[in-house]
């Protein structure tokens, strides 16, 4: 895999981590929690090289 592509997986993992962090930190707003997870879906499938 080219080096730059690896960096892109790195950026994706970083953003996914930030989304999870925000999800964990969110205490009250259920809607925000849901949004965190929805946005996380494409990042997860990309990181695991499914799509």
């Amino acid at each position: 895999m080219p080096f730059i592509t690896i960096l892109y997986y790195g950026i994706s993992i970083f953003i996914a981590a930030m989304l999870i962090w925000n999800f964990v930190k969110e205490k009250h707003d259920t809607q925000k929690m849901a949004l965190c997870l929805i946005v996380l879906i494409p990042f997860l499938l990309r990181i695991f090289r499914i799509r």
Binding site: I4, Y8, I15, M18, N22, I38, P42, R51
Partner: protein
């Protein structure tokens, strides 16, 4: 078929309304609409129920790369802001041009136009130079509402400006019309309309502060801040874009997210202040969450609309209109399609529309240019209101979203008229294309 698809559309609208009534956010209303549409479609096996989850998830990939750009670009500009760079630049501009108002306005317009013109995304203009420009405009005595309006319109024009115009590129790719000769048909109207916008909205000075007073009101700047520390991250970013254009075959493709990430790293290194990168990133992602969710969910919505035939019905309705009605309705259809689908509108409506316009003897390149002047206006319309919402965040405007949108009406109308006239008289304006060839 019409009835069946119309029914699915109705169910989608009802689901949206119901969600809204239950006080769900815009993003979740759209998600509800997509799920409801998919379930309704499953009754006619479009999509089969087993495929519904796949369609919903596949849609979220439509704008995955745009999401990457948004996050990395916003982190980049947040680092610059945090380090005091934005305040530094604004102070510089105000000190130099406070008494040359028109020059200052035009300079800020050019600064705002460049990032969007280079990347094709108005959001990049807002995300990179939006905040400093907003502040500078504010100190020139322009109200926050008008500042936001200027930012939004100019960012929209920057997206339409050459060399990169994503709407035109999507239509060109789909219609097999070469993406060449757009420089003048896009560049000239963008500059004229941009100049009009900054002068019209920025002409009136709404306070009578003197320079000294303005400077005293500005936030203090970290001691070690200097021109280099601000310029270096920007030079890195624009330098990376420039070399990718000048020597496209000598270097590997980096893509905007990586270019922003590298620039962010440089900004972090030269910052005179220690910045907690992780906390800053987390907060940025939180700030952008509604926007990111919109991008993901709009993709799903688009996919469900397509697979159920709703998208086809809309496209069919537009294409079947009588010509005069079509021209008039473009005023609404184009921005609204952008508001609902972002770039998706260019594919759904733009491609068949341009084939049709081409077949009745209009000049396709000029017509595409005309259309793509109007599209960015839709970036201020709900449900997505992508650039509009970014603008409000970056310009720190606290009033209602509607009041901000109302402030844009004069340039909005002018841009729309220009775009429509360009389509109508595209054959006569074809010399603009020839100039660039």
């Amino acid at each position: 078929m019409y009835l069946q698809i119309g029914l699915i559309l109705l169910i989608m609208v009802l689901a949206y309304g119901l969600a809204k009534w239950k006080n769900l956010s815009v993003e979740l209303c759209m998600a509800s609409s997509a799920v409801a549409g998919g379930l309704a479609g499953a009754f006619i096996k479009a999509p089969p129920l087993i495929q519904l989850a796949r369609h919903l998830v596949e849609g979220t990939f439509t704008y995955l790369d745009v999401m990457l750009v948004f996050v990395t670009a916003t982190i980049f500009i947040k680092i610059i802001t945090e380090s005091g760079g934005v305040d530094y630049v604004v102070r510089g501009i105000i000190t130099a041009f406070f008494n040359m108002r028109i020059v200052a306005l035009l300079m800020l317009m050019i600064v705002l136009l460049i990032p969007g013109a280079l990347t094709g995304a108005g959001s990049v203009s807002i995300l990179t130079v939006g905040a400093p420009c907003a502040m500078a405009l504010g100190y020139l005595g322009i109200s926050k509402k008008r500042v936001a309006a200027i930012l939004f319109i100019i960012a929209g024009l920057s997206a339409a400006a050459p060399p990169v115009n994503i709407w035109a590129m999507i239509i060109s790719a789909g219609t097999a019309i070469p993406y060449v000769g757009f420089e003048f048909p896009l560049g000239i109207p963008v500059l004229i309309l941009g100049t009009f916008t900054v002068l019209f909205l920025g002409w009136k000075r709404e306070n009578n502060m003197e320079l000294a007073e303005v400077l005293s009101r500005m936030p203090t700047i970290p001691e070690k801040m200097n021109a280099w520390r601000v310029a270096l991250p920007f030079m890195t970013f624009f330098g990376l874009i420039a070399i990718s254009r000048i020597w496209p075959f000598a270097l590997p493709v980096m893509g905007l997210p990586l270019q922003f990430s590298i620039a962010a790293l440089v900004a972090l290194l030269v910052s005179p202040k220690r910045i907690n990168f992780l906390v800053l990133s987390r907060d940025t992602v939180k700030l952008l969450l509604p926007l990111l969710a919109t991008m993901a969910i709009v993709g799903s919505l688009q996919q469900i609309m397509t697979v159920t035939g709703v998208r086809g019905l809309i496209s069919y309705t537009v294409i079947s209109m009588p010509l005069i009605v079509l021209y008039i309705s473009l005023i609404f259809i184009i921005p609204i399609s952008e508001g609902i689908l972002t770039y998706g509108g260019a594919a759904i409506i733009g491609i068949p529309l341009v084939w049709f316009l081409d077949s009745i003897g209009l000049h396709a390149t000029v017509a595409i240019a005309g259309l793509s002047l109007i599209w960015p206006l839709g970036d201020g319309l709900p449900p997505t209101a992508l650039i509009g919402r970014l603008t409000v965040i970056m310009s720190d405007y606290k009033g209602s979203y509607t009041s901000f949108l109302k402030a844009t009406w004069v340039p909005w109308v002018l841009i729309t008229i220009t775009g429509i006239l360009m389509i109508l008289f595209s054959a006569k304006l074809s010399f603009l294309v020839e100039w660039g060839m």
